[in-house]
């Protein structure tokens, strides 16, 4: 493992941890604006995390070690997954880091623990959240894998690092297929990060919540870790979309100016995407749970279309 790669590990983790809460607050801000409110400051999520860390942790007497290890395993899996998606700087891949299938399964690892923690305290809200989350993640999986397969098809590599290098070399919006893939990736982003129309991140009503239901029993620093990992997951999926579709500015060599420029550009692109997500969420209502499979089926046929176009062109 080269020193460059170790430096990459440090930079990527620092950047993703640093900016993830910002994007969450930005989306909230945009949604507040569309509702005619001023909304909290864009630093609100940072304040909230700092506050949660200082608070005591409460465990249910029925909960087990699952409840206690889940926040840590969850954030660790998501942070390792974040290493698979370079935000500002793309090094040479080492030992299969950046494998797109492994990325998907690291996210699944986090989800597995989170779902078990939802069941652990014996609360029916947690169980409801876990059950819905696992169902949704199961039926979105074919779409995700087909989109990833389309990416592998277009870039002729399984490694996200190489995909980014190639898309950075090719400039922007290289093929029409890539734009189509971008739309599919956007749908996956919405589903995976539990946003409207799939889930509503702002309610605590048992009829609507999925992700919030699972983490209802978490408190204090554990809740902070869960919130932070959700933010990091959002950021890494956003980075995947951004760096594939509009990669300009992405640093492929390690220089200070290049890194700073890449960081500023990424922040800018991320803020725009966060705005788009906020507007998208504000433009529609949450769907009924059992209407979701048809939405996913649409996304699935859409991504299969990409494959068919690629195969026959």
């Amino acid at each position: 493992m080269s020193p460059e790669f170790i430096l990459y590990l440090v930079i990527n983790t620092a950047v993703v941890l640093g900016i993830a809460p910002l994007f969450i607050s930005l989306i909230k801000k945009v949604k507040a604006w569309t509702q005619g409110r001023r909304g909290p400051t864009v630093f609100q999520t940072y304040f909230m995390l700092a506050k949660l860390v200082k608070k005591e942790v409460i465990y249910s007497p029925h909960s087990s070690w699952i409840m206690r290890v889940t926040p840590i395993v969850n954030i660790a899996a998501i942070l390792v997954a974040a290493l698979f998606v370079p935000l500002v700087f793309v090094p040479e891949p080492v030992g299969g880091i950046g494998n797109i299938i492994l990325l998907l399964y690291l996210l699944a690892l986090a989800k597995f623990f989170m779902a078990l923690a939802g069941l652990d305290a014996g609360s029916s809200f947690g169980g409801m959240g876990s059950s819905r989350e696992m169902s949704i993640s199961a039926i979105i999986e074919p779409t995700t894998i087909i989109v990833f397969a389309a990416l592998v098809f277009v870039f002729k590599t399984l490694n996200i690092f190489e995909m980014f290098t190639r898309s950075a070399a090719a400039g922007t919006l290289s093929t029409p297929t890539l734009i189509l893939t971008g739309i599919s990736l956007f749908i996956i982003l919405i589903v995976e990060t539990s946003r409207i129309p799939v889930d509503n991140p702002e309610t605590h009503l048992e009829l609507t919540m999925i992700h919030e239901g699972m983490i209802l029993e978490q408190s204090g620093s554990n809740l902070a870790l869960m919130e932070l990992s959700a933010a990091v997951k959002l950021t890494l999926l956003m980075a995947l979309l951004i760096n594939l579709i509009v990669p300009f500015g992405l640093a492929t060599t390690l220089t200070a100016t290049g890194l700073i420029l890449a960081l500023i550009l990424f922040l800018l692109k991320g803020c725009i995407l966060a705005g788009v997500i906020g507007l998208f969420e504000s433009s529609m209502a949450k769907m009924r749970f059992f209407r979701l499979p048809s939405l996913f089926a649409m996304a699935f046929f859409f991504s299969t279309l990409i494959i068919i176009i690629e195969v026959f062109s």
Binding site: V57, S60, I66, N99, L119, G122, S131, A138, V311
Partner: protein
């Protein structure tokens, strides 16, 4: 030297068969323990033997028995055979350690000696099937395997459920043997030899028929849908260590048969590959969807075995397809994936069956709705089950993921296949394959959550106690293997001489640990360390009851509804009235039940047809001696006339 190891292994197993049988007179624990120790010894010896062969590539061959030229029984162990012997040895060893304690809790007095003897015979027959150097030996030991496993399933023969399951299993396993026999005979007719000889690519209809017979035989044994029904019946009926052996190892013997015949005998056509792939995909998807609906923990594991065998068949199907398309590198990768998944599934499924056996022993029920809260009462068992659940859900960095990614990669590279329609077919199968692995994660969240987490949902579950040491040690070995194989997947392949393009899981493991350390360290210095224990928030309910928990049924309800076209239900509503207007209700039946599609539309019609045929034939047998004499007389007459005309 290595050949001697094989003999020692076989001798140990034979001793394990004989010792409990000769001491049947008195019900003594010692005889059973010695017999199981023989199994453990044999496992150790056979594991060493197979590791030596796997690493050195040496082939051992030994002629066991020869009467007339051609009818020859030889034992040949090459790397493929050694690989499967390793699976048999590792799983049998752990199962035997577990059984030393488990078997003493079973009822049945000296019947337990019979169980030990049949289990050893069963393991021996599996070793011999794999080691057979001729198709004749393969078939003979296959039948021995079928017969000995039937005795194991019938252990609790006084139970009506077991009797039903046993008959079902017996019929299916004999059908499997029948088709394997047909395949071997047709092959003998074509080649004139029982040896595994490689055939040229020219595909005659006879060779195709032979392949189809063998494929059918192996599919029935492996539990490929629609021949899978025996698994969810036989597994709950048999003792848990036996389920672990049958699901973990016996199904793999069918995989071995298929791989052996595809590699060493046939030159497969493209459509064979498509057939295997389609059968595999259907089993994988339907297997896990049925598993999600199941609430008998052992039946659920049985359905999950069907899913995993499906995944293995997908790998083999890809192997044939890529070979036919002249893509040897991808074909190799798919085959390695299929074989690696056979090993991994053997380990984690035996682990799950053994720990499930402990849970059933502790709670006296197989219904997961009556469990719960066991994580506090059986902490070690729950930890071991957890490792198995993570592994089977194909989560990194455990071994289930390492083999699934090995099948994913050829799928992703199937761009290289020339025919565009095939590309689309492969991508559809890829999507279903992905669905399978996501559903299996959901299934095992449900299983672990319902069995171990939250509050106990029955008195037995509340009174459950941790099981004794041997019942933890056996599964612990398997759990350790799951973790080590997962982390060192790349290194192990390198050791065997293969470079595979899968990520270095050791690095991923180290990174995960580093991130855990980072989080822990940061929290240690910044976070509040006050911890308070307080009741689960129940939305204003005065106290938390097990009844208000989310049950296993509830957990899988969304998936039930989404896939409601697959879970067909039959609604029956019959009412009768005292009056003609239908006002005064007399009696009625209303029921909603799950339609057993395969049973009602495939198995029963076939069974009824054979019953009718048997009835027709039985009319000839009227039990009267004169009639039989008449039959003999007529036969002789016909033969005389026949010979007179034609000879």
């Amino acid at each position: 030297m290595i050949t001697e190891l094989l003999f020692i292994g076989i001798a140990f197993l034979l001793a394990g068969v004989v010792i409990p049988l000769v001491t049947m007179g008195t019900d003594r624990k010692a005889a059973r323990t010695v017999s199981l120790c023989c199994t453990i010894g044999a496992s150790a010896v056979l594991a060493v033997l197979s590791l030596v062969i796997l690493l050195s590539g040496e082939v051992i061959a030994w002629t066991a028995y020869q009467t007339i030229a051609g009818f020859i029984l030889t034992l040949v162990i090459d790397r493929l055979a050694a690989f499967f012997i390793l699976i048999i040895a590792a799983v049998s060893g752990s199962v035997a350690i577990y059984s030393t304690s488990y078997i003493e809790y079973l009822h049945g007095g000296t019947r337990r000696n019979l169980l030990c003897a049949s289990a050893n015979l069963f393991i021996l027959s599996m070793v011999l099937v794999v080691a057979s150097g001729t198709t004749l030996g393969f078939f003979l030991f296959w039948e021995l395997m079928a017969a000995s496993s039937f005795f194991l399933v019938m252990y609790e023969y006084d139970d009506t459920e077991t009797k039903k399951a046993g008959i079902f299993y017996f019929v299916m396993t004999q059908l499997s043997t029948l088709f394997v026999m047909l395949g071997v005979i047709i092959l003998y007719g074509q080649t004139g030899t029982f040896a595994f000889t490689h055939l040229p690519a020219a595909s005659s209809p006879f060779l195709t028929a032979s392949f189809l017979c063998l494929f059918l035989g192996f599919s029935i044994k492996a539990g490929i849908i629609p021949f899978h029904k025996w698994l969810p019946y036989a597994h709950p009926a048999s003792p848990s260590p036996i389920s672990a052996l049958m699901s973990g190892v016996m199904l793999k013997i069918a995989v071995y048969g298929l791989v052996r015949f595809l590699l060493d005998v046939f030159a497969p056509d493209l459509w064979w590959g498509v057939l295997i792939l389609a059968a595999g995909t259907a089993s994988a998807v339907l297997g896990i969807i049925y598993a999600l609906k199941e609430h008998d923990i052992k039946a659920m594991l049985a359905y999950s075995s069907i899913e995993n065998i499906g995944i293995i068949f997908v790998g083999i199907g890809l192997f044939v397809i890529f070979t036919s398309n002249n893509l040897p590198a991808l074909a190799m990768l798919s085959l390695l994936g299929a074989l690696f998944h056979s090993l991994n599934h053997a380990f984690f499924k035996s682990l799950l069956f053994l720990t499930a056996g402990s849970v059933v022993y502790a709670t006296h029920t197989r219904d997961i709705e009556h469990m719960g809260g066991l994580v506090h009462r059986m902490p070690y068992t729950s930890g071991l089950f957890f490792v198995g659940a993570v592994a089977i859900a194909a989560l990194p960095p455990l071994n289930g993921f390492a083999s699934e990614i090995l099948i994913f990669i050829p799928f992703f590279s199937s761009v290289a296949v020339a025919n565009p329609l095939f590309k689309v077919l492969l991508f559809i199968c890829l999507a279903l394959f992905a669905l399978t692995s996501a559903l299996s994660a959901a299934c095992f969240v449900k299983a672990f959550g319902s069995v171990f987490l939250a509050l106990p949902r029955s008195e037995e579950s509340g009174d459950a106690r941790e099981v004794p040491l041997p019942m933890l040690a056996g599964p612990a070995l398997l759990a350790g293997a799951c973790i080590v194989i997962g982390l060192l997947a790349v290194q192990l392949f390198a050791l065997a001489g293969y470079t595979v393009p899968i990520p270095d899981m050791l690095l991923v493991g180290v990174l995960l640990l580093a991130m855990i350390a980072l989080t822990f360290g940061t929290l240690y210095f910044t976070a509040s360390r006050t911890v308070r224990i307080s009741g689960t928030w129940g939305c204003g309910m005065p106290s938390q009851q097990p009844l208000t928990e989310y049950s296993g049924h509830g957990f899988s309800e969304p998936i039930d509804i989404i896939f409601s076209t697959i879970y067909r239900t039959k609604i029956r509503n019959e009412r009768s009235f005292f009056d003609n207007a239908g006002c005064i209700f007399r009696e009625g039946i209303a029921e909603i039940r799950l339609l057993k599609v395969f049973e009602e539309y495939l198995y029963l019609p076939v069974a009824r047809a054979s019953c009718r045929a048997a009835k027709a034939v039985s009319r000839i047998h009227n039990g009267c001696l004169d009639t039989y004499l008449l039959y003999v007389f007529v036969t002789v007459l016909v033969m005389v006339v026949w010979l007179g005309w034609f000879a």
